[in-house]
Amino acid sequence: MRWELDPSPSPWKVFLAYSLFVALALLLLGLLFRLYGVSPLKAYGLLLSPLGDSLGLAEVGRRTIPLLLIGAGLALAFRVGFFNIGAEGQLLMGAVGGTYVALFLPPGPWTLPLMFLLGGGLGAVWSGLAAWLRVRFGANEILTTLMQNYLVYYLVVYLVAGPWKGQMVFGFLYTDRFPPEAQLPRLGDTLVHWPTLLLGIAAALGLQLLLFRTPLGFEWRVLGENPEAARYLGLKGGRLILLAALLSGFLAGLAGVGEVAGIHLRLLEPAQISLGYGFTAILVAWLARGRPLWALFTAPLLGLILAGGDALKLALSMPFRVVDVVAGLLLLSLIGAEALSQRRLVWRR
């Protein structure tokens, strides 16, 4: 009996493998809910409850915005072979950049564009640093980008508790409210800041075109699929990686500006700005399988999980960490199913 590679699995088998793993993930999650002391069915119901009404859908929508921007960029970065795990920190850098423009530069019609520019720029600097450390010194970007997340986290805590702490706020750790020129318009009464949503859709479309319709995209794909071949072709691997990293960091920075200018209207503690968008977007990108366009579908799916996690937190006062559990299980079941469908048991030696 041998356990070997199946080069061309049938669609039926792929479907079966995914069903098996999703069922296992749901079972394990249900077990955790039970251990925590709530009925699994009730918890699942709450997790999906945002789909039930327009208010819930608006919650999903507002969470889709950063996931779409970051997810599209990460889909590109992962495809090229730059494992950017630091979108969380790049988002926070974007929030810092946006806040600087909003609070410390004279307000005017240029304020919002400038916020996006500086926020995106700082996000790009932050991811570019990791790319440079990898290209120049061979430092593993999974670890460096992850560590950079913690660095910005403390930078933001320092800013909101120290030099940028608001004049008008007393016991709280946040900055003053942004002037009207620095606030993004929203759809009706919801928190859906539509200009950022449009940026996200444009990013997904643009990166898809860039990746599949241009010479640069071709070089990126070659490098990602076969670094050896890329070297024989004389492609400049370092420069290609740096460029993909800069783009994904820029988009994460834009997402950070969207959160502070569209929802909170001030800079506040990092855990309140982001809710782990940077990590959840890894799933968005992984599900999109290296196609930025697919983030248009996978981002709302993960947006639902985040909104559902919030519903669980409110209704059962469950720690928001539950979202990490769902995300971790989902990611494991995806890679597990993918791997399982590519293998077969052979009953001979």
Binding site: E4, F137, N140, L143, T144, M147, L151, I335
Partner: protein, 277 residues
């Protein structure tokens, strides 16, 4: 001075234990990025068991949960040959999330009889020496190194690549579990969400800094421990914001990675082994 050295060793011990655990599986070619989550979940398991049945059961339970989580990673990394990096990150998220969820009822409960830190610190040192001997002097160590460098050749010589890797993940997971137990039973005898505070990530960087050598990991862990001690000591007495001190370990990891980025890793690190290919 003496106090500084003692504190350095005590701060360094969880990092040492966790990095020994990660090092063991990495020598066999399996990357473990799940350390942070494994530590958190085994710290919780150890704490819960110690409350119910005493500290010895706590340690055993922490080690056991660590081993099981190591094998759980093995299901993905070895049996299914999935992407090890992604599987490890997912395990880190799962472990942190599940421990936060399940540990909520233990928050704020003190542990009546904590373990002395010194005993576990000594055990960690013995484990480092033992791991060094295991790798350099035993048949299993030879198999493990060959599986990490050239699994195809090891397979041709009749070594069970998968078996060696499972054992490494279970043993290494146990050490990571012991690191978690040290945190919740001895170092800060309590449970709080996020009590691993990035030590798992530092441990992964430490493996690289130590060039995959257990004895060098000892020096690295104590050096980091000394830096942590200085951070606590200097905090408040110099005009530097406390956030800068809190961020220091992470900055340190980045520096270490940049300085030792091209260190020689086991050749088959992170690559699933497939006989057919």
């Amino acid at each position: 001075m003496e106090e500084a050295l003692v504190r350095a060793v005590l701060f360094g011990t969880p990092m040492l234990l966790a990095s020994l655990g990660a090092l063991l599986s990495e020598r066999g070619g399996v990357v473990n990025l799940g350390v942070e989550g494994m530590m958190a979940l085994s710290a919780l398991a150890a704490f819960a068991a110690a409350l119910e049945a005493g500290p010895v059961w706590g340690v055993l339970c922490g080690v056991g949960v660590g081993s099981l989580l190591g094998l759980f990673l093995g299901v993905f990394a070895v049996f299914l040959r999935a992407n090890q990096f992604v599987a490890g990150l997912a395990l880190a998220a799962l472990g942190l999330g599940a421990s936060g969820l399940l540990g909520k009822r233990y928050e704020g409960t003190p542990l009546p009889d904590p373990l002395p830190e010194g005993v576990l610190a000594g055990l960690a040192l013995i484990l480092a020496l033992g791991l060094h001997l295991l790798l350099s002097r035993t048949r299993y160590g030879l198999y493990l190194r060959s599986v990490g460098e050239n699994p195809k050749a090891a397979d041709l010589f009749g070594v069970s690549v998968d078996g060696v890797r499972y054992l490494a993940l279970a043993l290494g997971g146990g050490m990571i579990g012991l690191a978690g137990a040290y945190l919740s039973l001895a170092y800060r005898p309590s449970w709080t969400d996020g009590m691993t505070s990035g030590l798992g990530w530092v441990a992964i960087a430490l493996v690289i800094l130590a060039g995959w050598q257990p004895l060098r990991a000892v020096l690295g862990a104590y050096f980091f421990g000394l830096l942590f001690f200085l951070q606590f000591r200097l905090q408040g007495s110099v005009p530097i914001p406390s956030e800068a001190f809190a961020a220091m370990p992470y900055l340190l990891v980045i520096l270490v990675l940049a300085l030792s980025g091209r260190a020689r890793a086991p050749k088959a690190l992170g690559q699933p082994f497939d006989r057919g290919r």
